[in-house]
Point group: C2
Chain length 264, copies 2
């Protein structure tokens, strides 16, 4: 269905604006994606938005026209509105001329098929959505199966995480679990849990990685709890030549993931 | 000197608030640093703030007391104020109980002593201050000499860059230069310019890196201009097993830097 929205106080505008907020996203089970490029990434990952909102003054684009047609064919909505209202929805002054509304999907561990990839990334209490999105992007690059989010992490469906993922949010597997549920799941099949650590660790170069390899990184400021490190099958250490004893979480995960990739 | 500030409209409060903005920082040549931990990193890097602003309700801390004494001995100012006014200065509701005001320092290329380190990081048009800070942090970890910022990059003295650097902004060398000034400087001495590239590149693993090695990463959305890639002495490629053809800039720099570090 095609619709037009002309008023700032339209309830749809209010609803879409509310999706910028995590609490409202969780309640609604929907999230926003800005820009044609990410919407095309979503399509490649098999996800079609329920609705798209377009600026009236947009430039015509064949991919956008195809997307509009597909959404209408699937029973979704194509909404036209003014650039000002679109800006109000996204909260950004130089906003893209198209925004899609997606249903969140189930991120239970049971959807992770560990045999589908040799590398899986696992993040514990990762708070920064940019780091989260960057890990999804890195996962795509190393051919990982996806990202498993342990304990209280940033929301993978936040605008910042989606953007930083460069679309990998639609193609990488995503699961969310508590540690006490993750460990039994992990141990119910094959899988090596690896973390960068300063305790009882071997050099990360040439360490005996084994697939499927689950690369665990910890919270940005606390690192991993000691009990979580102790659960790991392999603890590796990276050279730290300076004053600091740790890397940015997404960086540590990436350096380790490339090392694991090379070892297989 | 010790001072007390009680009014929100005090000119010092207005001035300090203004330093959150890049334009005002550049005009004033000063920047803000929040939190005792970063202030201690600064001290380790040989930088003392001109002023610190303390919340009246702070917890006592021996490091803070030492810092206060040093600042007063150096002719600086120790200002006490209410938590509300401190929040107004930093713009953050859960702000730290101490903020320091530092003079920016000269970031000319002539301050870079290329022989002092085997690795240097170079970023071109890096727009995200978080990425910039993360590169400084990675530079510290790999024992790099510093970060050279080419063309229009984010401000290394922004609060976000300082925070993401985890204090490395005070210990890593920092230079800012236009490309047309950087290249003659680079070629006036020894140095290998290396970039991750898809064009005419060799695998990044085991590539013939040579010190001092300048690792160049490009802008977050555009990558490196072709002419900049062409100037490189070595172009290397990293495995990209997914849909995307690039990594986050700070991640790419880190994976490459760890490979270079291992090869020396």
């Amino acid at each position: 269905m095609r619709k037009q929205i002309t008023g700032f106080s339209n309830p749809t505008v209010k609803y879409l604006r509310s999706l910028r907020d995590k609490k409202h996203r969780k309640r609604a089970g929907q999230f926003l994606v800005e820009g044609l490029r990410l919407l095309e990434d979503a399509r490649e990952g098999g996800r079609l938005p329920r609705q798209i909102v377009l600026a009236e003054n947009r430039d015509p684009h064949p991919l956008l026209e195809r997307l509009e047609a597909d959404i209408i064919a699937a029973g979704g909505e194509v909404i036209e509105t003014s650039p000002d209202i679109l800006t109000k929805i996204t909260g950004k002054s130089n906003s893209q001329s198209v925004v899609g509304v997606f249903d969140e999907w189930d991120t239970g561990l049971e959807h992770i098929d560990r045999g589908a990839a040799q590398i899986w990334l696992v993040a514990q209490a990762l708070r920064d959505p940019g780091n989260l999105g960057t890990m999804l992007r890195t996962g795509d690059a190393v051919g990982a199966g996806g990202l498993i989010l342990i304990d209280d992490c940033a929301d993978p469906f936040s605008a910042e995480a989606v953007r930083a993922s460069m679309g990998a949010v639609f193609t990488q597997g995503i699961a969310q679990a508590r540690w006490e549920d993750f460990v039994p799941w992990l141990r119910s099949g094959s899988g090596q849990l690896v973390a960068a650590s300063l305790r009882d660790a071997v050099p990360y170069r040439g360490a005996p990685y084994a697939a499927p390899c689950f690369i665990l990184v910890g919270n940005e400021s606390q690192g991993l709890p000691e009990a979580y490190e102790a659960e790991c099958d392999l603890r590796v250490t990276m050279p730290m030549r300076g004053r600091a004893d740790s890397l940015n979480a997404a960086v540590a995960g990436a350096v380790l993931a490339y090392e694991v990739l090379d070892s297989f």
